[in-house]
């Protein structure tokens, strides 16, 4: 059975229970029976969302009602005031950066920004940054570091923009420089993958001391569609590619590439932004408290070791031939 059919079936059951509740004569026994039914259906619903496969989660991660950086800026922070421009070429609307307060503390917010309707999507370039976006992010992060302010990153992009102008202005150089320089910023950096962690375009603002992932977010070296069209030579094989690439938050945690998976409200983050932010706020507050205690040198050493340990998927077993 298709997952959508299953979801519709559960929703039908929920409606049936509601109808029953309205129709039947209320006595203690039917009340108890109804409550039992309601709980069973709720359990089915919970189970459904717990067992979403990689492709279903990809759909959720791309849901247009998912909270974006500017939503988190409003829900998690006070007095967000945006900073624009890379001081070299322009201002990229697909990455937003700004000063804000987190529980009273001055911090920097950096994140990808997607649009919800067609007009916004175009204005935000579908959340696909160009080099000036990455350079703006680095510029403001260096500014935060200069004044000792912690940095919060929110990652949600299909990837860095693959276009002529982006190449001309050095997309690769911008990403590479961010990776090297952000690694050395002596202030706490808390990263949350909130939607799509699209390859290098995501990683360029996803280097930090804590890497969190919302439950239905994905993180991947290539989009499932891209992988499918290269390896299967058929973009329609994207669901298989999504499974093979191990892109879900749980996969990422098992691979040791993210620290924490942050639960979403039942049904997904798009159903309730406030609740999503509330759960995330607890995680971020706790992590920030841990990190601000560390002296900068120790913070940097831990950050280095964190990435140094990632993805050690090798063994020393190959019989080397003499060369040279």
């Amino acid at each position: 059975m298709d997952a959508n059919d299953r979801k519709r079936e559960i929703e039908q059951l929920e409606r049936d229970v509601e109808t029953l509740r309205r129709l039947v004569h209320k006595d203690a026994q039917t009340e108890a029976e109804l409550e039992r039914l309601r709980r069973e259906v709720a359990e089915l619903r919970r189970e459904f969302f717990e067992h979403l496969d990689a492709w279903q989660r990809t759909q959720l991660a791309r849901h247009p009602q998912r909270p974006y950086t500017l939503d988190f800026a409003r829900l998690l922070f006070d007095h967000f005031s945006e900073l624009h421009g890379d001081r070299a070429f322009g201002d990229d609307p697909s990455i937003v950066t700004g000063m804000a307060r987190f529980a009273g503390r001055p911090v920097l917010v950096v994140g990808h920004q997607k649009g919800r309707d067609t007009k916004q999507k175009l204005a935000r370039n579908f959340g696909m940054p160009k080099p000036e976006g990455y350079r703006k992010a680095l510029r403001t992060m260096q500014l935060a570091a200069k004044f000792g302010r912690p940095i919060f990153c929110f990652v949600d992009t299909p990837g860095a923009y693959p276009g002529v102008d982006a190449e001309e202005r050095g997309q690769a150089e911008a990403i590479a420089r961010n990776l090297r320089e952000i690694m050395l910023l002596p202030v706490p950096i808390l990263v949350t993958i909130t939607g799509e962690g699209g390859s290098g375009g995501a990683l360029a603002i996803a280097v930090g001391d804590r890497i969190n992932m919302l439950e239905n977010a994905i993180y991947s070296v290539i989009s499932p569609e891209g992988c499918a069209s290269i390896l299967w030579r058929d973009a329609a094989k994207a669901p298989q590619a999504a499974a093979a690439l191990k892109i879900t938050a749980n996969d990422m945690q098992q691979l040791g590439l993210v620290d924490e998976v942050v639960p979403e409200p039942e049904g997904g983050a798009h159903t309730n932004h406030e609740e999503t932010a509330r759960i995330l706020q607890e995680v971020l507050s706790r992590q920030l408290a841990e990190l601000v205690r560390l002296p900068p040198a120790e913070l940097l050493e831990q950050r280095y070791r964190k990435f140094r340990r990632m993805g050690q998927a090798f063994r020393e077993s190959y019989a080397v031939q003499a060369r040279g």
Binding site: I175, C227, F307
Partner: protein
């Protein structure tokens, strides 16, 4: 006279089809750029550069080291590292199979060699990538070897030279490949702050996650003529903008014009160019 029946056997048996070929087959090759037919031996003695149009053919990782390091001699580091196939990845074929095949074809454990040797007398660490190994793609092994090379360069204050030749991150190791970019850049950051020279050489092709990490972070970024260098591959860009790309787009000369390369250097001058740069940094 036999009008209807053949009386005599043919004088000799025709050559069976599997033996029917020109004796010199496989000894000639055609230049991809100018169409010149070149004797393969000539091409090899000419550093895999077309004698007519100077088109740079790809070099194997080993051949590259032979051309760069003094007397073609070096000590290899971390040669035994091979992938564990962390995702147990299967597309139309198991990744494990692709790995084994690539190892047999190249005689290497993965897509990069780390060599310690001398370059016109300068002791150096040199990483050389092999495009013939799954498109020179970067997974956990390439990431670890480059990181170790950077860390060794830091510990022993040796200049680092990396010759990139890669299609980017290796899909079959998923996000593990992606994180190699961060890991390598972290190590290069330390090298940078310790003021140890790192020279990045970009050969044809250098794209994707390799360009967007170590290949663009050299104190010098130098490329071979005509090398394809970019973040997104040309086909992906064409699909995005639905237009044909201009001639020369993403070639070394294009990057030079846009300010992302220090120089485009002919293969025959590469070694002396790097040596003079090291003189500048270290002498």
């Amino acid at each position: 006279m036999a009008w209807f029946r053949r009386e005599k056997k043919p004088v000799e048996q025709p050559t069976p089809p599997e033996e029917r070929r020109v004796r010199t087959e496989g000894m000639w090759t055609k230049c991809e750029a100018c169409g010149q037919i070149i004797w393969k031996k000539d091409l090899e003695t000419n550093w895999n550069v077309c004698p007519r149009c100077q088109h740079h053919f790809r070099l194997s990782a080993v051949r590259r080291l032979e051309l760069l390091l003094d007397d073609g001699q070096w000590v290899e580091h971390d040669g035994a590292l091979e992938s564990t196939d962390p995702l147990e990845f299967v597309d139309t074929r198991p990744y494990r199979e692709r790995l084994r095949e690539a190892q047999q074809k190249t005689g290497m454990a993965d897509a990069i060699l780390t060599a310690e040797g001398r370059l016109q007398g300068h002791p150096v660490l040199c990483c050389s990538m092999e495009f013939g190994f799954i498109g020179g793609s970067m997974g956990a092994v390439v990431g670890e070897k480059v990181t170790r090379a950077a860390e060794l360069a830091l510990a022993r204050r040796l200049p680092l030279v990396i010759v990139s030749c890669s299609g980017g991150a290796r899909m079959m190791e998923g996000a593990i490949s992606l994180m190699q970019m961060a890991k390598i850049c972290a190590a290069l950051g330390r090298l940078d702050r310790a003021r140890i020279p790192y020279i990045s050489v970009l050969a044809d092709p250098t794209t994707g996650g390799v360009t967007a990490s170590y290949a663009m972070l050299g104190d010098l970024n130098i490329a071979e003529p005509g090398a394809l260098i970019g973040f997104a591959g040309p086909r992906v860009i064409e699909q995005t903008i639905r237009q044909k790309l201009p001639e020369g787009f993403q070639r070394a000369e294009f990057l030079l014009a846009h300010g992302f390369l220090d120089a485009v250097v002919h293969r025959k001058e590469l070694k002396s160019y790097i040596a003079s740069a090291l003189d500048f940094f270290l002498a």
